[in-house]
């Protein structure tokens, strides 16, 4: 038990110092994608938090989901999430990724990202500003330090 806790703490510390992002569009209009990309530019300088884009899903710590999750993308999202190493967290960016937004009643949409994978942080907005996205990430990292985040996708 103690060992498990210690391992989790070490994992959280590593992520906290340098969270690597994976960005996945599950059917967004590209508005949120543009803001996510804007938020990783030098203007907002996310590397002061150690945030950078991961070269592959298997190196990723945080999955950034944009857009309403369509039925076709739901399988892919789950598959991507399963490939990430532990501990792993999901950030839902934008109104659509939260609950489907204006597309929530559509025949081809499942709903928000939390219907498929456990979501740690929701960032509202249509689209959210880059500052809001970075603020959400920092809030997640703070929550990790306090160990407030319940579901890390593993235990």
């Amino acid at each position: 038990m103690m060992q498990e806790q210690k391992a989790r703490k070490t994992g959280y510390r590593i992520i906290r110092y340098s969270p690597w992002l994976v960005h996945f569009n599950t059917g967004a209009c590209n508005g949120c994608d543009i803001e996510v990309l804007a938020s990783i530019t030098p203007l907002y300088d996310p590397e002061r938090f150690g945030v950078k884009l991961s070269p592959s899903i298997r190196h990723g710590d945080i999955l950034v989901v944009t857009g309403a999750v369509t039925k076709k993308a739901a399988d892919r999202l789950k598959r991507l999430y399963d490939q990430m190493p532990c501990p792993k967290f999901v950030v839902a960016v934008g109104a659509c990724a939260i609950d489907g937004g204006v597309f929530s009643k559509s025949y081809s949409v499942v709903g928000g990202a939390d219907k498929v994978v456990p979501v740690a942080i929701y960032i509202p907005g249509c689209p959210p500003r880059p500052e809001a996205i970075l603020d959400g990430l920092v809030k997640l990292l703070t929550a990790l330090r306090e160990e407030e985040v319940q579901n890390n996708g593993c235990s």
């Binding site: 039925k71 025949y107 081809s108």
Partner: protein
Amino acid sequence: MDVAEKLKLLEDFALEKSVLKPNRKLFVVEPSYVRRIFESLIEKLGHGGFYLSTIVGTDLKEENKIRLDYYVVMLPEEETVVIRTFLPRENPVIDSLIDIIPGALAGECETYDLLGVVFRGNPFLKRGFFVPTDVSEKGIYPLRKDSGV
């Protein structure tokens, strides 16, 4: 060959012509002529002289028709023209362009999946290309006005 000459190729086939919006000319043609129009475009302009940008299908339930718009861009002037045709709603069948214009693949497969327009001669048509399988298995074409989804 300047733009006017190129448009003349289309005018020969057109039932009527009008303007959708500035710089967007519209040619309404018979469905049986669509393939012949593209064959003559290839013959006169070559494969590099134009491209098929997209195929748009619309369900006109009141008129009992399905409207098909082929968006074609003339190069190098980048003049966009629309070739429009109407199909009967009960049996929407039209000749495929896929063997002469491979770029028509996505447009034709999408229009078949969403509206049920059959492109005769396209071997890649299948349900579930875009539409989720639970909807396509019921045989529903979601962009039809009476589909109920």
